[in-house]
Subunit: 418 residues, 2 copies
């Protein structure tokens, strides 16, 4: 079969399965998830063996150490995958919740009910755990899923998908509810992005290149999980001890993540006291600091920030530093250079806190807390499929609720349109 028919046929079957899944009770979905977890653990040796093929192939292709590490499956990572599935099984089922209901003057009751989106396409890169994780979140929220992993992980992914599908069958759910595009050809992704007749939403999980490729070629709505150029603004009315701990955490705790701080904005009224202290501790934590002229006047030995640096996501032990004369200047800077991901203010001033919360445009805006907390688990949403930087449907962490949509129900007693 040619690639086009293969992808279209796969999508069609997955859509049919997703329709049956939409009305499957939570009990069956949870049974499938728990069976998946058990079967993954039972198949550890097999999974490691299949994964070894990918690793060997990757080494031949000259993949970087970091990429090979992301690609690797070992018993503890398989345990973690299984644990994730059990956690998702324990979460409440979002499907069928009536979120609001009201009565109209003509007596009919109009309500909104939460339903699955339908069939979701996930396009992702090397980590094989994304396979189990994405499939589980889609399954629990009643969505069919069609997975397209990177070619470098094809043996690992194929083995994982086989286990997931066997578990679906055990629970009486059509196995095509978790479908997988095995063809590693790039054309297969392009064909997948054209299946707007069957696929309702595409979620790319991976680097900037992948996201760009998907956005440019998709006829299906895409929810992006894009980069984070996140700021912490230390206000003139900040508690500086708190500001210190929040900034250290936002930069150092895990610098490679999208919600880590990339730029510290300090009000000039506190800069003289705050900057020598925080920069000393940041430097002790091996953070490279790229600073504007005002900051460099207060602290010697900082690198010079150029205009293009303010747009940078370092994803590393490096950051920008700028002194501002007002909260407005800070907010303007964030509006210009930020990526609307995670933005924080540290202040004890009520009005400034309220203005910052309402006026700064980002998926999550924090007062007196670290941007690193922008996360589905931290927010209490349970597991997340990513942090959306798209401006429709869902912004910020996407948990199970964000994988559903709401439609209308009407309970009448003979109402007609006048």
């Amino acid at each position: 079969m040619d690639i086009k028919s293969y992808v279209s046929k796969t999508a069609q079957k997955a859509k049919e399965a997703s329709k049956r899944l939409a009305n499957t009770p939570a009990k069956a979905k949870n049974k499938a998830l728990l069976t998946m977890a058990d079967r993954l653990i039972a198949a550890q040796a097999h999974l490691v063996k299949e994964n070894y093929k990918d690793i060997t192939e990757g080494e031949k292709k000259g993949l970087s150490r970091a990429m090979l590490d992301r690609l690797t499956l070992n018993p503890s990572r398989i345990e973690a995958m299984a644990h994730g599935l059990r956690e998702i099984a324990a979460l409440p089922d979002p499907v069928g919740e009536i979120t609001k209901i009201w009565k109209r003057p003509n007596g009919m009751e109009v309500g909104r009910i939460r339903v699955p989106i339908g069939l979701i396409g996930i396009v992702y890169e090397s980590r094989p755990n994304v396979t189990a994780d994405s499939a589980a979140l889609c399954l629990k929220s009643g969505n069919g899923v069609i997975l397209r992993g990177g070619s470098e992980a094809v043996n690992s992914n194929t083995a994982i998908v086989k286990i997931l599908q066997d578990s679906l069958k055990d629970a009486g759910i059509p196995k095509e509810a978790v479908s997988f595009i095995e063809m590693t050809d790039r054309q297969a992704v392009l064909e997948m992005l054209k299946q707007d007749k069957y696929i309702d939403l595409i979620i790319p999980r991976g680097g900037e290149g992948l996201i760009k490729m998907v956005t440019e070629n998709s006829r299906i709505p895409v929810i992006k999980h894009d980069k984070g150029v996140c700021h912490t603004y230390v206000d003139e009315f900040a508690n500086l001890d708190m500001a210190h701990d929040i900034c250290m955490n936002a930069k150092v705790q895990r610098p490679g993540t999208c919600n880590a701080m990339e730029c510290l904005l300090a009000h000039s009224a506190i800069a003289e006291e705050f900057l020598p202290w925080i920069t000393k501790d940041l430097k002790a934590a091996k953070v490279k600091i790229i600073a504007d002229a005002k900051a460099r006047k207060l602290v010697k030995g900082l690198s010079v920030a150029k205009e293009e640096d303010w747009y940078k996501e370092y994803n590393d032990l490096a950051m920008n530093l700028k002194v501002v004369e007002s909260m407005d200047e800070a907010m303007e800077h964030i509006g210009k250079y930020g990526s609307q991901h995670s933005e924080a203010i540290v202040t004890e001033n009520y009005t400034n806190a309220q203005r910052f919360l309402r006026e700064v445009d980002a998926s999550a805006v924090f007062v007196n807390a670290s941007t690193r907390l922008n996360d589905g688990g931290q927010f209490g949403l349970g597991a997340e499929i990513g942090i959306s930087t798209t401006r429709i449907h869902a912004r910020g962490p996407m948990g199970l609720e964000e994988l559903t949509t709401q439609r209308f129900i009407v309970m009448g007693s003979g109402q007609i349109r006048e």
Copy 2:
């Protein structure tokens, strides 16, 4: 300036204006809306004159009577436009509403706040009233809008947009918050659909051809307002008097709309009693009935339904009729041939009503009410920009709330990520 730079520049300026609009208080937005209404009425003679150019041009091009009628502006239509703007001014401002807030174990409060989507692109066809109507809904919900009307209405639209922009200036809102692509070249639309850097959402308003063109060419998420192949299922436990009135209303009250009934499904247990009666009254209302063999056995003189007929949206005084042996057969038929728009059951049976509401997949599902009620005004949402048939962000009538999105706010007291 070439088309590409013109469109991109227009989108960029509109985006900048939309950022300022996002934090504009309701008072200023309402002032702009009421000024727009007053100015439209005051400019009646001018608008009719500009519209006459489009009509003359349209007649030369040989536009159909129906198209010329849709294109026409007269004093009563201008009154209606102004009335619509005043109604939107009177609706509550959705922006800034905190829809939910909860406390996490670490003490931080996490909430969801309603914010504008950003910049919305509207691509539409001949009716010039869509210009004022779309601009007003976007403005009230804090969104910038970039309008691209059909070339046949360009003089009317240009005149309307000028009035809207003057009114924005009066209210201290940047006029680019309502932007308009004047270039009638088709390439201008294609360029607009590529501006994913500036435009956050595209809403096409028009026929199937327009929607297809937009979906296939857009790099920006699209919310479609697609066709409706709507069914009414008369259950074996229906109150037949009620069923009669609902079916007549759903087909006859305004057959050209997307929520009108295109197919009546009657349970065999009531068919013998119900069909002769309803078909007689439908025929008296000049409805052509295309029926399956079972229905034709009970009622003479009906047309023969072919397989492809079941997919049809007649948008006219014509409809399909089929006898089913069970609710399951009705739901299967709806799942196969329906367009997930508006679906209704008439029944007195509690379990059937509940199953139909939950299991039928459509933007609005009705028990004992006419599908014609699938409408923002009827549901109490206020004015609507259309009925979404897309499965993400919003399904069904899109009012002001559906033109917003929700982001997160976090109120902390020094929380960091452990």
